[in-house]
């Protein structure tokens, strides 16, 4: 496998223009990506997280040659997406998912056959390959039924089958489990993992933190069109101040108590949140030196105090980084 990055993005920007008015049309410019820099290695699943409107789908569409950047460069498998789309398209798989994107009046098999022909899959192996991908996504029994009768999960499987039909070297999965029931979502994640073992590089966007945690050894967080962090999950935990989190709940804390906690050695961050009459302090903790009983001992005036310790989740990391960027 090549050491060259599968994806390399440099100072990538994308501005969408929309026009308002009828006679005197006003042009409104909305920046979706603002100078994105990103490098993704070969043969693994790379996660791209971000809130709605962060620019994830825009980035995926640029990388899959469906959208041109406004400025900057994006290279996939060493080739420029803006100028070498013809070379790239047979080597890229794209799964946008959802209810749309399929011909509903014809069968799943016919959908795959149509796209196999557009991708120039050799005729001698076309039907066998269609069978193979249908088996892989567990759609063989429904293959000859019209797509309009498929459930959301079955449509998602068909999207994935189409994405891998031509054996792409790199696969872009845009929120592949959104709207799926837990069983279908689990099956989809299992399928995604199996694709990596075939040597396919995958860029996956998702809103689900547990999904990213389960699938992606490395990920980036995109917020308001910018990459705010890119690292492994342990690296991201370190970045937000520790892989342990202590949560302290009570009916309010005064400033002195919060200041005391902030200066505890090993505590990198103290955040407060109100839940009705109660208040929660969240402490990001770097070392084992800070223990929950030690924190409880520092807050003797709260008989109703509850303290619990847990591992810092990817969701904590995500929220910290997105909030940090927003402020």
């Amino acid at each position: 496998m090549s050491d060259d990055p599968a994806i390399e993005v440099t100072n990538l920007t994308r501005v969408f223009e929309s026009r308002k008015g009828f006679l005197f049309r006003e042009v409104e410019r909305t920046p979706a990506l603002k100078g994105v820099n990103l490098s993704v290695g070969n043969g693994a699943i790379f996660g791209l997280l971000g809130p709605n409107g962060a620019g994830k789908t825009t980035l995926v569409k640029i990388l899959s040659t469906l959208l041109l950047p406004t400025s900057g460069t994006a290279r996939v498998l060493g080739h420029d997406v803006a100028h070498e789309a013809e070379w790239l398209r047979p080597r890229i798989g794209l799964v946008l998912g959802g209810e749309r994107g399929l011909y509903n009046r014809i069968s799943g098999r016919e959908n795959l056959r149509y796209f196999a022909d557009l991708y120039g899959l050799p005729i001698a192996e076309r039907d066998a390959r269609i069978r193979e991908v249908l088996e892989r996504v567990d759609l063989v029994s429904a293959a000859d039924r019209r797509v309009e009768g498929y459930s959301r999960g079955m449509k998602q499987k068909l999207h994935i089958a189409r994405g891998i039909l031509h054996r792409p070297s790199i696969l872009f999965l845009d929120e592949p489990t959104i709207g799926l029931d837990p069983k279908s979502a689990r099956e989809t994640r299992k399928l995604v993992r199996s694709l990596v073992s075939d040597g396919v590089t995958i860029l996956l966007t998702t809103h689900y933190m547990f999904e990213a945690e389960e699938l992606c050894p490395e990920l980036a967080i995109l917020s308001r069109g910018q990459i705010v962090a890119k690292d492994t999950i342990p690296g991201l935990r370190r970045r937000v101040g520790g892989d342990r989190t202590i949560e302290v709940d009570a009916y309010g804390f005064d400033d002195r108590e919060m200041a005391q906690l902030r200066v505890l050695p090993g505590v990198s961050k103290v955040a407060s949140e109100e839940f009705g009459p109660r208040m929660r302090l969240t402490l990001r903790v770097r070392t084992e030196e800070v223990r929950p009983d030690q924190v409880a001992a520092m807050l003797p005036n709260h008989p109703e105090l509850t303290v619990r310790e847990r591992r810092t989740s990817l969701e904590d990391v995500y929220l910290d980084l997105v909030e940090e960027e927003a402020t």
Partner: protein, 268 residues
Amino acid sequence: MALPESHASRTRATMAALRLSLLTFMADPQWLVPSMIAPVIFGLVSFELFRGEGPYFLTYAILGAGMMSMWGQTLYGSGWATGQDRVFGTLEPTIQAPTPYLYVVLGRIVWNVAAGLLGGLIVYVVVVVAAGGPPALPNPVVFVVLFLFVMVTLASVGVVFAAAYVYTRYAGFIQNVGEFAFYVGTGCMFPVILLPFWTNPIALLFPPTWALDALRYLSIPGYVGFGWGWQWDLVGAVGVTAVYAAIAGSVFHRVERHVLESGNLSDY
């Protein structure tokens, strides 16, 4: 790895689009109305309208009703299919496939020509059955060839319309505005020469005008069209169709680039 660089791959994409059109047609009974039922009605109405109007009334009836049955499907069918691609969300994966979209449109054009011809054939059969015999055609072989060529001229304009559907989701609006004007202005309904003179140069910008004039010259003795005979009409039709084909190739390339710049492929 599949590398569809060759003409063979592009031909396969065209055949795949043709096959998809056929499957979609068979899956949706609403198409029976414009493709099979409407030609029967047009044929009968046209036969009654022209009955007794001179020795060539059967040819008038067949041409009038035949064009009515064929022109819409052939001219706009491919554009409409591209509009449907937008609605279904299939335009993005189709554009993302390695084969240029023009070859997909060509497959749809072939289908729409075939479906249009079926409509024309139904009209012919209906009128002939109603009249109790076929019309007297001075040159039946050339008539058939020219008839087919009229379809090609309609298809050449249809490709440009299909590009408009890729370009913008509002192409349907342009089509609806221009539909009747195009139908009358190119002579589908009656000879263009009957329209005010100032409309004639505009009409000649469209290949079907030339081809339809040629068809009338050939099949209706004594017909007075543009005045230069069916052979020169045919030359004109071939020339203008070639220009449209060249425009279509270039326009599609530019339109594909434009939609990648504007990012409106998923709008509908």
